[in-house]
């Protein structure tokens, strides 16, 4: 059984039909990437999963249970956390406070403390800066903090919205290496939304390519890699 399943999901974003029937399945323990150009509906898909946008049709099931009608904080409690686009770290909170806010929905104090250690070990630079304000970090450090904050919820499924955006190639590969470590060692399932197809296909297991609210192509990353021209044509397809 897939950990997360979207079945024919439709969503409107203002007057725009942003999603016109999206179906996808994410197997437990995998890294799945969702590719597409600007405006293809990638962010709306994530918003529908996290409950910040209510789909107008279709169903979303997590571990076989429908998510329809649940609030975002109920969905976080079920085990879906998000690393938002543009990192969105709390600028006036310290690094440690930011991380603890990721664990807001949890009550197991000892578990939170040990996960904090774990995140600081994954991203040693955050340990050095633990008392600094989030707003004082560099872009790459902020992305690490945003990922760490998402991990602090101890999710079954972590949604990442364009983690490579605006970062130098060396930082991008460092971040994706860490994501793969998290996936392997903690068996955490990842759904990575990306515009950077090369990086995403190199690191994921399975991929979907969105075009104007529909899934245009899907397949294992090997299959998609062989048809790179097809993928790239969709990626470049601006509306």
């Amino acid at each position: 059984m897939a950990l997360l399943r979207l079945d024919n999901v439709e969503a409107n974003y203002g007057a725009v039909r942003a999603l016109q029937g999206i179906s996808l399945a994410i197997e437990e323990g995998s890294i799945v990437t969702l590719l597409g150009a600007n405006g293809a509906g990638k962010s709306t898909t994530l918003k529908s999963i996290s409950g910040t946008v209510q789909p107008s049709g279709g169903t979303i099931e997590f571990e076989g249970k429908p998510l329809g009608g649940l609030t975002t904080n109920q969905i976080v409690k079920l085990g879906i956390a998000q690393v938002p686009e543009g990192r969105k770290i709390f600028k006036d909170l310290t690094v440690t406070e930011n991380l603890n806010m990721g664990a807001y929905s949890r009550k197991d104090t000892p578990g939170i403390a040990s996960d904090l250690e774990l995140v600081l070990d994954l991203f040693p630079v955050l340990k050095e800066r633990s008392r600094q304000l989030g707003g004082s970090l560099s872009g790459g450090e902020q992305q690490m903090l945003a990922i760490g904050r998402g991990l602090m919820a101890r999710p079954r499924l972590l949604l990442l919205d364009e983690p490579s955006l605006g970062l130098a190639p060396i930082i991008i590969s460092e971040i994706f290496n860490t994501l793969r470590t998290i996936n392997k060692e903690h068996r955490m399932t990842l759904l990575v939304v990306e515009q950077n197809a090369n990086v995403a296909l190199k690191n994921a297991d399975y991929g979907y390519v969105l075009q104007v609210g529909r899934i245009a192509v899907e397949g294992t990353v090997d299959e998609l890699g062989k048809n790179k021209d097809v993928v790239n044509s969709y990626m470049g397809a601006q509306e």
Binding site: T52, Q82, P84, K91, D92, M101
Partner: protein, 289 residues
Amino acid sequence: MFGQQVISGLATGSLYALTAVAVVVVFRNTRTINLAQGDFSMIGAFMALIFIKDLGLNYYVSLGLAVVFCIGLGILVERLVMRPIADSDWLTLFTATLGVYYILHGVAGWFWGRDTKAFPVTFDPTPIKVIGGLLSQGHLINMAWAVAIGAALYYFFKYTKQGIAMRAVTDDPETAELMGIPVRFIVLLTWGMAGFLAAFVGVLIAPIIYVAPEMMDEVLIKGYVAAVFGGLYSIPGAIVGALLIGVTENLAGGYLGSEFKTVTAFIMIVMLLAFRPQGLFGIQHRREV
């Protein structure tokens, strides 16, 4: 004489500070200037008066009950008035708090009459000698309360989960929601905190002034001016602003004549807005939410 004016100015200023902090905390999390903040205090003072005079309760018990009552009042205003219109523009929200202001004024006048009532002074008015001046024990007690509440707030915002979450909501409400922080609950807590602070101000200031529906009008304005000193954002800025107003108006009243006392806060806000509209501490421009 000078020292005495300064110290008693600090004592009054510390009550303005509690009002200012409440204005700031509500503004940061709801984009609303709460005009009813002063009236929360007024209701608190009336409740304490009833508890002490009519029910014969002990002063501290009455204070505690007034605090609980005002927290409830703050929560009620959020639930019944502010939440249904939470997504409206700032002018709607502002006007709604003006409505609450008039309702509370009206209710108080209806229940308890419009004439001013003396608050039973429950502390020893004997003056005590403090660095360079005489100060009534009441003033000292008020300052001690304000310092204690300030310390409690600092602890709350720095070390408790809900306090840090409240700052996270201030910072970025949408992301806070995404992290699983129940933003509506945090906003409810914010209004509860406004009630909590209001009750102390009302009960502590009542023996110095009087108890009547309009007793807090001037204090609210001064609290608001102090909040602007902190750019409506910084709590330390609001506290410094409040103490500055308390001291300046006392000095103006003492040296220039009592008719200058009330105007002082207004002169200060005009000068502040003319020269440092971002607040006294150069708060960076907040991004639009």
